[in-house]
Symmetry: C2
Subunit: 371 residues, 2 copies
């Protein structure tokens, strides 16, 4: 068991925002909330997935909505906890651990606040190994965790419980429209799982990875070396291009931030131009009309000077950034997973283009069978 410190909040949220691949929300508010939890004497304790007992009840929590809205509309702070309480009520049982649904700036912090309030540990891992825009895109659901009971709650105290849904996509569809009606941002609790199941399907150690990335960036900034290099050394990713954002087209539709970025290469990359399409998260990187990197791999932007992750709600004309491509988790590379998180799941008629994996503990052999 590892206890989160105030310093960890900074490194984890920065590292998680790198893993957020443009999405996962802005960490600023979430980080303040988590800090308040610590300062009020609460503990945020983290356990490794293999410390989960078979009969633990793990519930997946986080914030839902367009990060553009989350950045402008202050949450009340207990939306996710209200949602968790509704799931517990539907199950007639208290959760014994919280699992993040994704890594990302905001959604690395939200589960910490819930875990601290509920007085239960947070599992070191998540369901995406990055951020993705939709609820069904977790390894939890991909490998068969039931999508119900789930709940969402908003700052007015509105609470909705999904007791039965046709499948994870229907949960996404219904929860998304409720979130839009709630003003574009809500807390969600979903996918209750036994500890035994969670252990098998969670992408492990991503909180630790986020912290390592954050610390590597800190160290690089302190030593005036390249933050991007530091991130690549921890993640076995690649730098695709260094350049300047020359255009951002962004619209908030159907509860998502959708659009594209255009980046012109600078320095060694002068003369090149790339485009990145996004839906909350960066999805496909194009150059010369060809796809060069796609989901589920992570396409992430880091400001060249300070190593700050550029999320899709903040990126703007003139930002100078390194464009990195980081390999996704092996659990996201199976056929079963690629059907849900590959480019076709986002409407691109493309095969996934994937980097060789980063060192991980799970192997395809040990994958659980879908229920």
């Amino acid at each position: 068991v590892w206890c989160i410190t105030e310093r960890d909040l900074g490194t984890i949220s920065a590292g998680a925002a790198v893993l957020g691949a443009g999405g996962g929300g802005n960490p600023y508010i979430g980080r303040l909330r988590a800090r308040e939890s610590l300062r009020s004497g609460k503990q945020i304790s983290v356990i490794a997935p293999d410390e989960l007992a078979d009969d633990d009840l793990t519930v997946v929590c986080g914030a839902m909505g367009s990060p553009v809205i989350a950045f402008e509309k202050l949450p009340r702070g207990d939306e996710e906890l209200m949602a968790l309480r509704e799931v517990e009520r539907a199950l007639g049982r208290k959760a014994t651990a919280i699992a993040p649904f994704e890594m990302g700036g905001g959604n690395s912090m939200a589960p910490m606040v819930i875990a601290a309030s509920a007085g239960i540990p947070l599992v070191d891992g998540d369901g995406m190994g990055r951020a993705f825009p939709e609820l069904q895109m977790t390894t939890y659901m991909i490998y068969g965790a039931p999508p119900t009971p789930s709940a969402i709650a908003d700052e007015r105290g509105n609470r909705l419980v999904f007791n039965e849904v046709a499948d994870g996509r229907w949960l996404e569809r219904l929860a998304r429209s409720a979130t839009i009606s709630m003003g574009g941002h809500a807390g969600v609790a979903t996918t209750p799982m036994s500890g035994a199941f969670c252990r098998q399907v969670i992408i492990p150690n991503t909180l630790t990875l986020a912290r390592d990335i954050g610390e590597a960036i800190d160290e690089a900034v302190r030593s005036k070396s390249q933050p991007a290099d530091a991130v690549l050394s921890v993640t076995s990713g690649q730098r695709y291009l260094t350049g300047k954002v020359i255009d951002v087209e962004r619209r908030n539709t159907q509860g998502f931030a959708r659009g594209s970025l255009t980046i012109d290469g600078t320095g060694q990359d002068a003369g090149r131009r790339i485009r990145i399409d996004f839906q909350n998260e960066n999805l496909v990187l194009w150059e010369d009309g060809q796809p060069r990197a796609t989901v589920p791999d992570l396409i992430t932007l880091l400001t060249t000077e300070r190593g700050e992750p550029l999320t899709t709600e903040l990126v703007s004309y003139g930002c100078r950034a390194d464009v990195l491509v980081l390999p996704c988790a092996d659990l996201m590379k199976t056929e079963q997973a690629l059907r849900v998180v590959g480019p076709r799941a986002f409407g691109f008629d493309l095969d996934p283009m994937l980097l060789p994996g980063r060192p991980r503990t799970e192997t395809a052999d040990s994958l659980p069978v879908e229920d």
Copy 2:
């Protein structure tokens, strides 16, 4: 206790469609479902509101969505029952009676099917004394019944429970967006009430009134007299105009059928032109740029020849109709009610114009106090 017969289904659905004031859905499918219930040996028993015991648990049920969609998309048939079961589960108690939320073609039949399936009686009355487009527009909620727990369900088996909402308007907003995501049509169960409370706030005897209207129309058609006159004699309403529909503007937006009708007078009314604005139901009748009748009074169209109610999803160019204005129930005339169902609640900057009331049992003196 009164047991509904197959013949009653015809007269009640026709009479309820008159009370539906253009809305309340098309009765055709609902009537077939109710008939199937009877033919399979189930009973639809109706009790008067004053037969409710103090500790009865009454749940309000019906279909939600744009009638345009309900007319095209076949329901599975047990959506409302699934929603009822979710409300019962949230309460930890079985309902002992069903109360319709409105009178209207479809929504006079849906509660019968539920009552028959659940094996509990239907209360002779409803929460509107007519149809209205939104959930908070019932006397139940206007006079203080809590809006939760409520539930909606669709034909795929998706089930949402509203355990807590800020108020009835938020229930409407959230349930409406879920209904839209469900394809525009859902079964709803809401506003659980004690028998004691329901007795005070229900608009009584409207099923009987619907049957009386339906029988009067039948009799008029048989005897080749004017169906409109027969309806007026039962409802103490007024004929406003006889004419021909010359234009219908209708769009399906935000889950409602919205638009307006233009009707030119014929015969004695030749040379006159009226417009009726609607949102599922007819809301305001205009002539010479002036409002002549408004919600909560009932503006309803009856085909001149056959006395068939013309609902807003069916009315079309060339229909020949009598335009009737029928007085709303006294419970809809209090200040408290007019804030929720008067013209301003629908965005019209108008004071309500109301006909003298039809004979009713309740008086303003005996109104319950809002919680």
